[in-house]
Symmetry: C2
Subunit: 225 residues, 2 copies
DNA sequence: CCTGGGCGTGTAGCGGTCGTCACATTCGCT
DNA sequence: AGCGAATGTGACGACCGCTACACGCCCAGG
Protein backbone atom coordinates (compact mmCIF):
# COMPACT_ATOMS: atom_id res chain seq x y z
CA UNK A 1 0.00 0.00 0.00
CA UNK A 2 1.18 3.49 -0.74
CA UNK A 3 1.18 4.97 2.71
CA UNK A 4 2.93 8.20 1.78
CA UNK A 5 -0.33 10.06 1.27
CA UNK A 6 -1.68 8.85 4.61
CA UNK A 7 1.50 9.71 6.46
CA UNK A 8 1.16 13.29 5.31
CA UNK A 9 -2.59 13.53 5.97
CA UNK A 10 -3.21 15.96 8.86
CA UNK A 11 -5.05 13.31 10.82
CA UNK A 12 -1.91 11.17 11.15
CA UNK A 13 0.85 13.73 10.77
CA UNK A 14 1.19 14.16 14.52
CA UNK A 15 1.50 10.45 15.29
CA UNK A 16 4.81 8.83 16.12
CA UNK A 17 6.20 6.37 13.60
CA UNK A 18 5.45 3.42 15.86
CA UNK A 19 1.79 4.35 16.40
CA UNK A 20 1.39 5.05 12.72
CA UNK A 21 2.90 1.70 11.77
CA UNK A 22 0.54 -0.09 14.15
CA UNK A 23 -2.39 1.84 12.73
CA UNK A 24 -1.66 1.00 9.11
CA UNK A 25 -2.01 -2.68 10.02
CA UNK A 26 -5.65 -1.97 10.89
CA UNK A 27 -6.44 -0.31 7.59
CA UNK A 28 -8.30 -2.18 4.87
CA UNK A 29 -7.21 -1.44 1.34
CA UNK A 30 -9.85 -0.98 -1.33
CA UNK A 31 -9.60 -0.53 -5.10
CA UNK A 32 -12.54 0.77 -7.10
CA UNK A 33 -13.20 1.30 -10.81
CA UNK A 34 -14.93 4.46 -12.04
CA UNK A 35 -18.63 4.45 -11.21
CA UNK A 36 -18.68 1.90 -8.43
CA UNK A 37 -19.94 3.03 -5.05
CA UNK A 38 -18.44 2.54 -1.61
CA UNK A 39 -21.67 2.99 0.30
CA UNK A 40 -25.18 4.22 -0.39
CA UNK A 41 -27.72 6.43 1.31
CA UNK A 42 -29.50 4.43 3.99
CA UNK A 43 -26.72 1.87 4.50
CA UNK A 44 -25.55 1.11 7.97
CA UNK A 45 -21.91 2.19 8.09
CA UNK A 46 -19.07 1.69 10.52
CA UNK A 47 -16.12 2.61 8.35
CA UNK A 48 -14.29 5.83 7.70
CA UNK A 49 -12.30 6.10 4.47
CA UNK A 50 -9.14 7.84 3.34
CA UNK A 51 -8.51 8.52 -0.29
CA UNK A 52 -5.06 7.33 -1.33
CA UNK A 53 -5.50 8.09 -5.03
CA UNK A 54 -8.38 8.97 -7.34
CA UNK A 55 -11.53 10.97 -6.61
CA UNK A 56 -14.90 10.22 -5.10
CA UNK A 57 -18.19 12.10 -5.16
CA UNK A 58 -20.61 12.35 -2.25
CA UNK A 59 -24.18 12.63 -3.46
CA UNK A 60 -27.81 12.47 -2.44
CA UNK A 61 -30.81 11.29 -4.38
CA UNK A 62 -34.23 12.91 -4.08
CA UNK A 63 -37.29 10.64 -4.03
CA UNK A 64 -38.03 11.54 -7.65
CA UNK A 65 -34.58 10.33 -8.69
CA UNK A 66 -32.85 13.67 -9.18
CA UNK A 67 -29.36 13.85 -7.70
CA UNK A 68 -27.12 16.48 -6.24
CA UNK A 69 -23.49 16.32 -5.20
CA UNK A 70 -22.27 17.51 -1.82
CA UNK A 71 -18.57 17.32 -2.56
CA UNK A 72 -15.80 15.98 -4.75
CA UNK A 73 -12.96 14.62 -2.65
CA UNK A 74 -9.41 13.76 -3.64
CA UNK A 75 -6.19 12.20 -2.29
CA UNK A 76 -5.51 12.81 1.41
CA UNK A 77 -9.13 13.62 2.21
CA UNK A 78 -11.42 11.49 4.31
CA UNK A 79 -15.14 10.75 4.25
CA UNK A 80 -17.79 8.55 5.79
CA UNK A 81 -16.96 9.77 9.28
CA UNK A 82 -20.39 11.14 10.16
CA UNK A 83 -22.01 7.76 10.56
CA UNK A 84 -19.48 7.02 13.28
CA UNK A 85 -19.89 10.03 15.51
CA UNK A 86 -23.59 10.48 15.02
CA UNK A 87 -24.84 6.91 14.75
CA UNK A 88 -27.52 6.71 12.09
CA UNK A 89 -27.62 5.45 8.51
CA UNK A 90 -25.51 7.10 5.83
CA UNK A 91 -27.13 10.19 4.41
CA UNK A 92 -25.11 10.26 1.21
CA UNK A 93 -23.87 7.87 -1.43
CA UNK A 94 -20.12 7.71 -2.12
CA UNK A 95 -19.13 6.85 -5.67
CA UNK A 96 -15.75 6.66 -7.37
CA UNK A 97 -15.41 9.35 -10.05
CA UNK A 98 -12.20 7.82 -11.34
CA UNK A 99 -10.25 4.69 -10.55
CA UNK A 100 -9.70 5.08 -6.83
CA UNK A 101 -7.69 3.53 -4.04
CA UNK A 102 -9.02 3.84 -0.51
CA UNK A 103 -7.98 2.87 2.99
CA UNK A 104 -10.81 2.01 5.36
CA UNK A 105 -10.69 2.28 9.15
CA UNK A 106 -13.44 0.74 11.20
CA UNK A 107 -15.24 2.29 14.12
CA UNK A 108 -13.63 0.12 16.76
CA UNK A 109 -10.07 0.94 15.77
CA UNK A 110 -10.90 4.61 15.44
CA UNK A 111 -12.40 4.73 18.93
CA UNK A 112 -9.31 3.28 20.55
CA UNK A 113 -7.18 5.71 18.59
CA UNK A 114 -9.31 8.63 19.73
CA UNK A 115 -9.15 7.58 23.35
CA UNK A 116 -5.41 7.17 23.44
CA UNK A 117 -4.59 10.12 21.20
CA UNK A 118 -6.39 13.38 21.99
CA UNK A 119 -4.54 15.17 19.18
CA UNK A 120 -6.26 12.89 16.68
CA UNK A 121 -9.68 14.07 17.89
CA UNK A 122 -8.48 17.63 17.53
CA UNK A 123 -7.56 16.90 13.91
CA UNK A 124 -10.90 15.24 13.28
CA UNK A 125 -12.74 18.18 14.81
CA UNK A 126 -10.79 20.46 12.54
CA UNK A 127 -11.58 18.35 9.48
CA UNK A 128 -15.29 18.40 10.31
CA UNK A 129 -15.25 22.13 11.02
CA UNK A 130 -13.62 22.75 7.66
CA UNK A 131 -16.20 20.66 5.87
CA UNK A 132 -18.97 22.54 7.64
CA UNK A 133 -17.45 25.83 6.54
CA UNK A 134 -17.31 24.67 2.95
CA UNK A 135 -20.89 23.49 3.05
CA UNK A 136 -22.06 26.79 4.51
CA UNK A 137 -20.21 28.49 1.70
CA UNK A 138 -22.02 26.38 -0.91
CA UNK A 139 -25.31 27.20 0.77
CA UNK A 140 -24.65 30.93 0.48
CA UNK A 141 -23.61 30.49 -3.14
CA UNK A 142 -26.87 28.77 -3.98
CA UNK A 143 -28.80 31.68 -2.52
CA UNK A 144 -26.72 34.55 -3.87
CA UNK A 145 -25.03 33.49 -7.11
CA UNK A 146 -26.51 32.65 -10.50
CA UNK A 147 -25.57 29.47 -12.32
CA UNK A 148 -22.61 30.87 -14.29
CA UNK A 149 -21.23 32.28 -11.03
CA UNK A 150 -21.54 28.95 -9.30
CA UNK A 151 -19.93 27.15 -12.23
CA UNK A 152 -17.01 29.60 -12.12
CA UNK A 153 -16.68 29.05 -8.36
CA UNK A 154 -16.75 25.29 -8.76
CA UNK A 155 -14.07 25.36 -11.45
CA UNK A 156 -11.85 27.60 -9.34
CA UNK A 157 -12.29 25.30 -6.37
CA UNK A 158 -11.46 22.24 -8.47
CA UNK A 159 -8.46 24.12 -9.89
CA UNK A 160 -7.19 24.84 -6.37
CA UNK A 161 -7.38 21.23 -5.41
CA UNK A 162 -6.65 19.34 -8.61
CA UNK A 163 -5.19 21.89 -11.02
CA UNK A 164 -1.76 21.49 -12.63
CA UNK A 165 0.07 24.19 -14.56
CA UNK A 166 -0.04 23.69 -18.33
CA UNK A 167 1.61 25.56 -21.19
CA UNK A 168 -1.25 28.00 -21.69
CA UNK A 169 -3.05 27.94 -18.34
CA UNK A 170 -4.14 25.65 -15.53
CA UNK A 171 -5.22 22.16 -16.47
CA UNK A 172 -8.08 20.97 -14.27
CA UNK A 173 -8.61 17.27 -14.90
CA UNK A 174 -11.80 17.08 -12.87
CA UNK A 175 -12.98 13.85 -14.52
CA UNK A 176 -16.59 14.91 -14.17
CA UNK A 177 -19.22 14.82 -16.88
CA UNK A 178 -21.17 18.04 -17.38
CA UNK A 179 -24.11 16.25 -15.81
CA UNK A 180 -22.05 15.66 -12.65
CA UNK A 181 -20.75 19.22 -12.67
CA UNK A 182 -24.37 20.39 -12.92
CA UNK A 183 -25.36 18.26 -9.92
CA UNK A 184 -22.42 19.73 -8.02
CA UNK A 185 -23.53 23.33 -8.56
CA UNK A 186 -27.25 22.57 -8.25
CA UNK A 187 -28.28 23.34 -11.81
CA UNK A 188 -29.39 21.55 -14.97
CA UNK A 189 -26.88 20.06 -17.39
CA UNK A 190 -28.09 22.34 -20.18
CA UNK A 191 -27.63 25.55 -18.21
CA UNK A 192 -24.14 24.50 -17.10
CA UNK A 193 -23.24 23.68 -20.69
CA UNK A 194 -24.33 27.14 -21.78
CA UNK A 195 -22.34 28.78 -19.01
CA UNK A 196 -19.24 26.84 -20.03
CA UNK A 197 -19.80 27.76 -23.69
CA UNK A 198 -20.01 31.41 -22.71
CA UNK A 199 -16.73 31.20 -20.76
CA UNK A 200 -15.04 29.51 -23.72
CA UNK A 201 -16.40 32.14 -26.09
CA UNK A 202 -14.93 34.87 -23.89
CA UNK A 203 -11.57 33.14 -23.94
CA UNK A 204 -11.51 32.31 -20.26
CA UNK A 205 -11.51 28.52 -20.71
CA UNK A 206 -10.77 25.70 -23.07
CA UNK A 207 -12.78 22.51 -22.75
CA UNK A 208 -11.24 19.08 -22.93
CA UNK A 209 -12.61 15.62 -22.29
CA UNK A 210 -13.62 15.60 -18.61
CA UNK A 211 -11.26 18.49 -18.02
CA UNK A 212 -10.92 22.22 -18.57
CA UNK A 213 -7.94 24.50 -19.07
CA UNK A 214 -8.33 27.84 -17.31
CA UNK A 215 -6.86 30.51 -19.59
CA UNK A 216 -7.87 33.69 -17.76
CA UNK A 217 -7.87 33.11 -14.03
CA UNK A 218 -8.49 36.74 -12.99
CA UNK A 219 -11.58 37.13 -15.19
CA UNK A 220 -12.98 33.83 -14.00
CA UNK A 221 -12.40 34.93 -10.40
CA UNK A 222 -14.17 38.18 -11.15
CA UNK A 223 -17.16 36.32 -12.57
CA UNK A 224 -17.39 34.08 -9.50
CA UNK A 225 -17.95 36.94 -7.07
CA UNK B 1 -26.79 31.14 36.67
CA UNK B 2 -29.36 28.58 35.68
CA UNK B 3 -27.16 25.57 35.10
CA UNK B 4 -29.97 23.06 34.66
CA UNK B 5 -29.99 23.42 30.89
CA UNK B 6 -26.22 22.99 30.71
CA UNK B 7 -26.23 19.96 32.99
CA UNK B 8 -28.60 18.23 30.60
CA UNK B 9 -26.76 19.29 27.44
CA UNK B 10 -25.20 16.22 25.77
CA UNK B 11 -21.76 17.77 25.92
CA UNK B 12 -21.73 17.76 29.72
CA UNK B 13 -24.17 14.99 30.52
CA UNK B 14 -21.38 12.44 30.84
CA UNK B 15 -19.28 14.48 33.24
CA UNK B 16 -19.11 13.74 36.94
CA UNK B 17 -20.67 16.31 39.28
CA UNK B 18 -17.25 17.45 40.49
CA UNK B 19 -15.84 18.05 37.01
CA UNK B 20 -19.04 19.80 35.98
CA UNK B 21 -18.92 22.07 39.03
CA UNK B 22 -15.32 23.01 38.28
CA UNK B 23 -16.26 23.70 34.69
CA UNK B 24 -19.14 26.02 35.48
CA UNK B 25 -16.67 28.25 37.32
CA UNK B 26 -14.91 28.81 34.02
CA UNK B 27 -18.06 29.83 32.17
CA UNK B 28 -18.81 33.46 31.48
CA UNK B 29 -22.42 34.46 31.70
CA UNK B 30 -23.85 36.78 29.07
CA UNK B 31 -27.23 38.48 28.72
CA UNK B 32 -28.35 39.95 25.42
CA UNK B 33 -31.39 41.94 24.28
CA UNK B 34 -33.14 41.15 20.99
CA UNK B 35 -31.06 42.27 18.03
CA UNK B 36 -27.64 42.53 19.63
CA UNK B 37 -24.89 40.37 18.22
CA UNK B 38 -22.40 38.13 19.99
CA UNK B 39 -19.81 38.13 17.23
CA UNK B 40 -19.59 39.16 13.59
CA UNK B 41 -18.22 37.73 10.40
CA UNK B 42 -14.49 38.38 10.27
CA UNK B 43 -14.00 38.72 14.02
CA UNK B 44 -11.25 36.80 15.68
CA UNK B 45 -12.95 34.41 18.08
CA UNK B 46 -11.82 32.17 20.89
CA UNK B 47 -15.09 31.49 22.62
CA UNK B 48 -17.69 28.79 22.28
CA UNK B 49 -21.21 29.55 23.50
CA UNK B 50 -24.07 27.61 25.03
CA UNK B 51 -27.58 28.90 24.90
CA UNK B 52 -29.21 28.84 28.31
CA UNK B 53 -32.40 30.59 27.24
CA UNK B 54 -33.61 32.49 24.20
CA UNK B 55 -32.71 32.02 20.55
CA UNK B 56 -29.90 33.16 18.31
CA UNK B 57 -29.52 33.26 14.54
CA UNK B 58 -26.33 32.49 12.63
CA UNK B 59 -26.13 34.51 9.44
CA UNK B 60 -23.86 35.60 6.63
CA UNK B 61 -23.82 38.83 4.68
CA UNK B 62 -22.97 38.97 1.00
CA UNK B 63 -20.79 41.86 -0.20
CA UNK B 64 -23.86 43.60 -1.60
CA UNK B 65 -25.52 43.54 1.81
CA UNK B 66 -28.00 40.72 1.31
CA UNK B 67 -28.18 38.26 4.18
CA UNK B 68 -28.94 34.63 4.65
CA UNK B 69 -29.39 32.60 7.80
CA UNK B 70 -27.58 29.32 8.40
CA UNK B 71 -29.49 28.28 11.49
CA UNK B 72 -31.74 29.27 14.35
CA UNK B 73 -30.48 27.83 17.62
CA UNK B 74 -32.25 27.48 20.94
CA UNK B 75 -31.66 26.43 24.57
CA UNK B 76 -29.14 23.63 25.07
CA UNK B 77 -27.48 24.17 21.70
CA UNK B 78 -23.98 25.47 21.19
CA UNK B 79 -22.34 27.62 18.54
CA UNK B 80 -19.13 29.44 17.72
CA UNK B 81 -17.09 26.27 17.98
CA UNK B 82 -15.69 26.28 14.46
CA UNK B 83 -13.29 29.13 15.05
CA UNK B 84 -11.68 27.05 17.78
CA UNK B 85 -10.99 23.83 15.90
CA UNK B 86 -10.20 25.39 12.57
CA UNK B 87 -8.42 28.58 13.53
CA UNK B 88 -9.54 31.37 11.23
CA UNK B 89 -11.91 34.31 11.58
CA UNK B 90 -15.60 33.75 12.19
CA UNK B 91 -17.50 33.06 9.02
CA UNK B 92 -20.91 33.95 10.39
CA UNK B 93 -22.52 36.59 12.54
CA UNK B 94 -24.41 35.48 15.67
CA UNK B 95 -27.35 37.66 16.69
CA UNK B 96 -29.93 37.32 19.44
CA UNK B 97 -33.41 36.77 18.00
CA UNK B 98 -35.03 37.21 21.40
CA UNK B 99 -33.72 38.14 24.81
CA UNK B 100 -31.04 35.54 25.34
CA UNK B 101 -28.82 34.19 28.09
CA UNK B 102 -25.56 32.56 27.08
CA UNK B 103 -22.64 30.82 28.75
CA UNK B 104 -19.26 31.31 27.08
CA UNK B 105 -16.32 28.94 27.34
CA UNK B 106 -12.93 30.06 26.11
CA UNK B 107 -10.53 28.10 23.99
CA UNK B 108 -8.01 27.44 26.73
CA UNK B 109 -10.51 25.90 29.11
CA UNK B 110 -12.05 23.85 26.35
CA UNK B 111 -8.66 22.44 25.32
CA UNK B 112 -7.86 21.23 28.81
CA UNK B 113 -11.32 19.71 29.05
CA UNK B 114 -10.84 17.92 25.73
CA UNK B 115 -7.47 16.53 26.75
CA UNK B 116 -8.60 15.19 30.08
CA UNK B 117 -12.01 14.02 28.90
CA UNK B 118 -12.08 12.05 25.65
CA UNK B 119 -15.86 11.55 25.94
CA UNK B 120 -16.30 15.29 25.60
CA UNK B 121 -14.56 15.26 22.21
CA UNK B 122 -16.82 12.43 21.19
CA UNK B 123 -19.82 14.59 22.05
CA UNK B 124 -18.40 17.55 20.20
CA UNK B 125 -17.71 15.41 17.15
CA UNK B 126 -21.29 14.23 17.29
CA UNK B 127 -22.60 17.79 17.58
CA UNK B 128 -20.57 18.87 14.57
CA UNK B 129 -21.60 15.81 12.57
CA UNK B 130 -25.24 16.56 13.30
CA UNK B 131 -24.87 20.15 12.20
CA UNK B 132 -23.18 19.02 9.00
CA UNK B 133 -26.07 16.66 8.33
CA UNK B 134 -28.58 19.45 8.81
CA UNK B 135 -26.64 21.77 6.53
CA UNK B 136 -26.43 19.11 3.83
CA UNK B 137 -30.17 18.71 4.16
CA UNK B 138 -30.72 22.45 3.65
CA UNK B 139 -28.46 22.34 0.62
CA UNK B 140 -30.55 19.60 -0.96
CA UNK B 141 -33.74 21.52 -0.14
CA UNK B 142 -32.46 24.61 -1.93
CA UNK B 143 -31.79 22.56 -5.04
CA UNK B 144 -34.92 20.41 -5.07
CA UNK B 145 -37.75 22.28 -3.35
CA UNK B 146 -39.60 25.43 -4.36
CA UNK B 147 -40.08 28.29 -1.92
CA UNK B 148 -43.42 27.12 -0.44
CA UNK B 149 -41.86 23.70 0.14
CA UNK B 150 -38.89 25.21 1.92
CA UNK B 151 -41.15 27.41 4.04
CA UNK B 152 -43.19 24.37 5.04
CA UNK B 153 -39.99 22.49 5.92
CA UNK B 154 -38.68 25.40 7.98
CA UNK B 155 -41.93 25.71 9.92
CA UNK B 156 -41.98 21.99 10.64
CA UNK B 157 -38.39 22.13 11.81
CA UNK B 158 -39.12 25.09 14.07
CA UNK B 159 -42.22 23.29 15.35
CA UNK B 160 -40.11 20.25 16.25
CA UNK B 161 -37.69 22.32 18.23
CA UNK B 162 -39.77 25.15 19.66
CA UNK B 163 -43.39 24.07 19.20
CA UNK B 164 -45.84 23.78 22.12
CA UNK B 165 -49.26 22.17 21.94
CA UNK B 166 -52.13 24.68 21.84
CA UNK B 167 -55.90 24.24 21.89
CA UNK B 168 -56.28 24.07 18.12
CA UNK B 169 -52.82 23.03 16.96
CA UNK B 170 -49.12 23.51 17.57
CA UNK B 171 -48.00 26.97 18.60
CA UNK B 172 -44.62 27.81 17.11
CA UNK B 173 -43.34 31.00 18.72
CA UNK B 174 -40.41 31.34 16.36
CA UNK B 175 -39.92 35.07 17.11
CA UNK B 176 -38.75 35.67 13.56
CA UNK B 177 -39.95 38.41 11.25
CA UNK B 178 -41.02 37.27 7.79
CA UNK B 179 -37.86 38.91 6.53
CA UNK B 180 -35.77 36.63 8.78
CA UNK B 181 -37.81 33.59 7.84
CA UNK B 182 -37.16 34.46 4.20
CA UNK B 183 -33.41 34.69 4.81
CA UNK B 184 -33.57 31.32 6.54
CA UNK B 185 -35.13 29.56 3.55
CA UNK B 186 -33.16 31.52 0.97
CA UNK B 187 -36.02 33.46 -0.59
CA UNK B 188 -37.45 36.98 -0.72
CA UNK B 189 -39.74 38.31 1.97
CA UNK B 190 -42.56 38.79 -0.53
CA UNK B 191 -42.48 35.23 -1.81
CA UNK B 192 -42.44 33.83 1.72
CA UNK B 193 -45.37 36.06 2.62
CA UNK B 194 -47.34 34.68 -0.33
CA UNK B 195 -46.50 31.12 0.61
CA UNK B 196 -47.69 31.74 4.17
CA UNK B 197 -50.86 33.41 2.90
CA UNK B 198 -51.56 30.38 0.75
CA UNK B 199 -51.10 28.01 3.70
CA UNK B 200 -53.44 30.14 5.81
CA UNK B 201 -56.00 30.22 3.02
CA UNK B 202 -55.91 26.41 2.85
CA UNK B 203 -56.47 26.22 6.59
CA UNK B 204 -53.10 24.70 7.41
CA UNK B 205 -51.85 27.62 9.49
CA UNK B 206 -52.89 30.62 11.52
CA UNK B 207 -50.50 33.55 11.72
CA UNK B 208 -49.75 35.40 14.92
CA UNK B 209 -47.20 38.07 15.80
CA UNK B 210 -43.81 36.44 15.26
CA UNK B 211 -45.44 33.05 15.62
CA UNK B 212 -47.62 30.58 13.73
CA UNK B 213 -50.12 27.96 14.84
CA UNK B 214 -49.96 24.80 12.77
CA UNK B 215 -53.52 23.57 12.28
CA UNK B 216 -53.00 20.73 9.80
CA UNK B 217 -49.68 19.05 10.41
CA UNK B 218 -50.17 16.17 7.94
CA UNK B 219 -50.97 18.46 5.01
CA UNK B 220 -48.04 20.73 5.80
CA UNK B 221 -45.79 17.67 5.94
CA UNK B 222 -47.14 16.57 2.60
CA UNK B 223 -46.39 19.96 1.05
CA UNK B 224 -42.82 19.92 2.39
CA UNK B 225 -41.80 16.76 0.49
C1' DC C 1 -54.52 62.24 23.97
C1' DC C 2 -53.78 62.05 19.54
C1' DT C 3 -50.49 62.16 15.86
C1' DG C 4 -46.80 61.07 13.07
C1' DG C 5 -43.35 58.02 11.74
C1' DG C 6 -41.07 53.68 11.54
C1' DC C 7 -41.46 48.86 11.16
C1' DG C 8 -43.62 44.75 9.94
C1' DT C 9 -46.96 42.86 6.86
C1' DG C 10 -50.03 42.07 2.62
C1' DT C 11 -50.43 42.12 -2.59
C1' DA C 12 -49.92 43.09 -7.47
C1' DG C 13 -47.27 43.44 -12.01
C1' DC C 14 -42.93 42.98 -14.83
C1' DG C 15 -39.11 40.81 -16.28
C1' DG C 16 -35.14 37.68 -15.92
C1' DT C 17 -33.17 33.33 -14.89
C1' DC C 18 -33.27 28.78 -15.41
C1' DG C 19 -35.59 24.12 -15.81
C1' DT C 20 -37.73 21.26 -19.25
C1' DC C 21 -38.28 19.44 -23.77
C1' DA C 22 -36.61 18.56 -28.13
C1' DC C 23 -33.19 17.58 -31.27
C1' DA C 24 -28.51 17.71 -33.65
C1' DT C 25 -23.80 16.52 -33.20
C1' DT C 26 -19.67 14.46 -31.51
C1' DC C 27 -17.02 11.30 -28.76
C1' DG C 28 -15.36 6.98 -27.17
C1' DC C 29 -15.47 2.30 -26.80
C1' DT C 30 -16.35 -2.45 -28.60
C1' DA D 1 -18.20 0.70 -38.36
C1' DG D 2 -21.67 1.42 -35.19
C1' DC D 3 -23.96 2.38 -31.01
C1' DG D 4 -24.67 4.61 -26.59
C1' DA D 5 -23.12 8.23 -23.89
C1' DA D 6 -21.83 12.84 -23.57
C1' DT D 7 -22.13 17.39 -25.42
C1' DG D 8 -24.12 21.56 -27.88
C1' DT D 9 -28.08 24.60 -28.74
C1' DG D 10 -32.69 26.59 -29.31
C1' DA D 11 -37.70 27.55 -27.76
C1' DC D 12 -41.06 28.00 -24.17
C1' DG D 13 -42.89 28.62 -19.86
C1' DA D 14 -42.81 28.78 -14.73
C1' DC D 15 -41.01 30.42 -10.65
C1' DC D 16 -39.46 33.95 -8.13
C1' DG D 17 -36.85 38.35 -7.24
C1' DC D 18 -37.58 43.12 -7.61
C1' DT D 19 -40.18 47.33 -7.53
C1' DA D 20 -44.01 49.69 -5.95
C1' DC D 21 -47.48 50.70 -2.87
C1' DA D 22 -51.17 50.26 0.82
C1' DC D 23 -52.25 49.05 5.44
C1' DG D 24 -52.01 48.16 10.46
C1' DC D 25 -49.48 48.40 14.80
C1' DC D 26 -46.66 50.29 18.27
C1' DC D 27 -44.56 53.89 20.59
C1' DA D 28 -42.39 58.58 21.21
C1' DG D 29 -43.11 63.16 21.62
C1' DG D 30 -45.84 67.30 21.18
Amino acid sequence: MDIEVLRRAPLFATLGDDVFAALTDELTELDLPRGSSIFREGDQGDQLYFIISGKIKLGRTAQDGRENLLAILGPGELFGEMALFDPSPRTATATAVSETRLAGLNNENLRTLLETRPEVSAQLLQALARRLRRTNESLADLVFSDVPGRVAKALLDLADRFGRPATDGILVAHELTQEELAQLVGASRETVNKALAEFVQRGWLRLEARAVVILDLPRLRQRSR
